[in-house]
């Protein structure tokens, strides 16, 4: 099977080959965009991502086998145009999952209620988070990029990715009432369960 950089190299001479890159990655880009800003935005972001990728094909570093960080980087920029859709989705998620809307139904088991409450809290926290922190966190948790991948996608040093991720996770953990680490730990430290794929 050819690698992404193979496809890109060939596509520079035979444009039709570019379709292979689309076939390979369009569905993960779509899913990521849909999760963040809804189907309507995902439709737009997915095709625009590949159009931009096509326009910038000459700038792609052919030493990189995996084009996903590059594609997610483009998608991340494009998603900023859909920030209203994203905010709305998070708002709806936060509301739909608020405790009282599910909590008093005696048929529901506690675990379901907790899951819904957790989703609501996550949504609220994501909504309140600084944009770059949210982008970093979601590239990690939803797009499954590594630290290095996110660094490429966002064009920042790996250390910056690490500190943004730490900050975002700390906020999230505080809001979720998970372990609070910052008393004697610190704001910028690495947190528990350091990712293994970093």
């Amino acid at each position: 099977m050819s690698t992404d950089n193979d496809i890109i190299r060939r596509a520079r001479d035979s444009p039709a080959v570019f379709g292979e890159l689309y076939d390979r990655h369009s569905s993960i880009i779509y899913r990521y965009a849909a999760r963040r800003a809804g189907d309507f935005a995902a439709d737009d972001v997915t095709s625009e991502t590949f159009l931009v990728a096509w326009e910038q094909l000459e700038t792609y570093d052919l030493d990189r086998e995996d084009a996903r960080p590059w594609l997610f980087g483009i998608a991340t920029n494009l998603l900023r145009r859909h920030h209203r859709a994203e905010a709305k989705m998070l708002k709806v998620a936060a509301k739909a999952a608020s405790r009282d809307s599910v909590g008093d139904d005696s048929d529901r088991i506690a675990a379901q209620v907790d899951a819904a409450v957790t989703t609501g809290r996550i949504a609220r926290t994501l909504k309140a988070m600084a944009v770059i922190d949210r982008e970093t966190l979601l590239l990690y948790a939803w797009a499954d990029l590594t630290y290095e991948g996110i660094a490429l996608a966002m064009d920042v040093p790996v250390g910056t990715v690490r500190s943004r991720l730490n900050r975002a996770r700390r906020t999230l953990r505080t809001q979720l009432d998970l372990e609070i680490l910052d008393e004697t730990e610190n704001d910028h430290g690495r947190l528990a369960a350091a990712p293994r794929n970093a």
Partner: protein, 354 residues
């Protein structure tokens, strides 16, 4: 349960991409690509690009600059802000005096075999937003002690205390807190271990070293600049884009560093002097009480003057008593003029660790 795991579970409600949508997108993309193969030069096509991320980025920048201006305008209208760079003259004086005092107050001598005990008490707010759109809040109290060996590269011990609800803003908040406690205890062992003893070499309780300002703690203690302007510039650089405003984030970063309890006197002094250079820092309360101890609160406003980030300094010893976030208006179920969260820190020398 891990925060990332919970976050990852959220994406499972999105199914795979509709094939028809992807097919339509492919047509759109490949039509453009086909155009390239028929036009004379590729550069032409590139120039005709439909979306330029650079153009887009510029638009975002302009938008946020406009927003910043707008916010700035509101802040100036609502809050008395100092003119010129740095903190107000009064705040700068307090901070510079604290810097001088803290140099005089030599660091506690920890002999081999002894530990520096850093005791913290912390209060956080919890809130629940309800279906009717209202939010109720309460405060939880937690705390812990960190025992730092004389040789800081040795094993640190951290005793973590449970987090318990202590202050309720109304009966409804009390009821919500009860409900939540009940559901938490039902989860049993599934949840993360929040209490008890943790051990870690050189303070690395979670397999990797603690950091301040993006630098491993022990390295930071050695290498952070002692020149206040340089230190503040570094803080701005490390916290770019974070927090509600660069100023509040800078002050909060200084507070986070100081509450580790292990910052040596010369660096502590540099941090106070750096805080004196943060625009908007004011003396918020000359007699602020935190966890039963009194000091001077130095703060910076954010959110159109609705909130304030404070550090509370003992003017005599130059030690930081703690930090807090003040709500000056009622918001999210928290009453006006209330600390929505605070942390106090106390250090002493002890002969043994648990």
């Amino acid at each position: 349960m891990d925060d990332l795991q919970l976050l990852r579970e959220m994406r499972s409600d999105i199914g795979s991409a509709p094939p028809a949508t992807l097919a339509r997108g492919r047509e759109k993309v490949m039509a453009k690509v086909a155009l390239a193969s028929t036009t004379a030069t590729k550069t032409d096509t590139h120039a005709k690009g439909t979306v330029s991320p650079i153009r887009f980025r510029r638009r975002v920048l302009i938008a946020s600059a406009a927003a910043a201006l707008l916010v700035g305008g509101i802040v100036v209208a609502d809050v008395v802000r100092p003119i010129g760079p740095g903190a107000t003259a009064e705040a700068a004086e307090v901070l510079n005096n604290a810097a001088a005092a803290t140099i005089q107050t030599s660091d506690l001598g920890v002999k081999p075999g002894q530990y520096l005990k850093v005791e913290t008490k912390a209060v956080y707010s919890s809130s629940v937003s309800r279906a009717d759109g209202t939010t109720v809040s309460w405060l939880d109290t937690t705390g812990g002690q960190v025992y730092v060996p004389a040789d800081m590269s040795g094993e640190w011990v951290w005793n973590r205390e449970p987090r318990v609800p202590t202050t309720f803003f109304g009966e409804e908040a009390r009821a919500e807190a009860r409900k939540q406690e009940a559901s938490m205890s039902q989860k049993g062992s599934a949840g993360p271990q929040l209490e008890g003893i943790l051990r870690g070499r050189a303070g690395a309780f979670y397999d990797s070293p603690q950091q301040i300002m993006g630098t491993p703690l022990l390295e930071a203690i050695e290498t952070l600049p002692r020149e206040p302007r340089q230190l503040l510039d570094l803080i701005y650089e490390k916290t770019k884009g974070a927090g509600p405003s660069p100023e509040s984030e800078a002050l909060s970063t200084i507070a986070s560093s100081l509450r580790t309890g292990v910052i040596p006197a010369d660096l502590r002094a540099a941090m106070y002097k750096a805080a004196a250079l943060i625009p908007g820092v004011v003396v918020a309360d000359k007699q602020a009480t935190l966890d039963g101890r009194q000091g001077v609160a130095l703060g910076v406003y954010w959110g159109d003057g609705k909130f304030r980030e404070d550090i509370i300094v003992d003017p005599v010893t130059g030690l930081m008593i703690g930090e807090r976030i003040m709500y000056l208006v009622a918001e999210g179920g928290i009453p006006a003029n209330t600390a929505s969260s605070w942390t106090s820190v106390k250090t002493s020398v002890v002969d043994a660790a648990p």
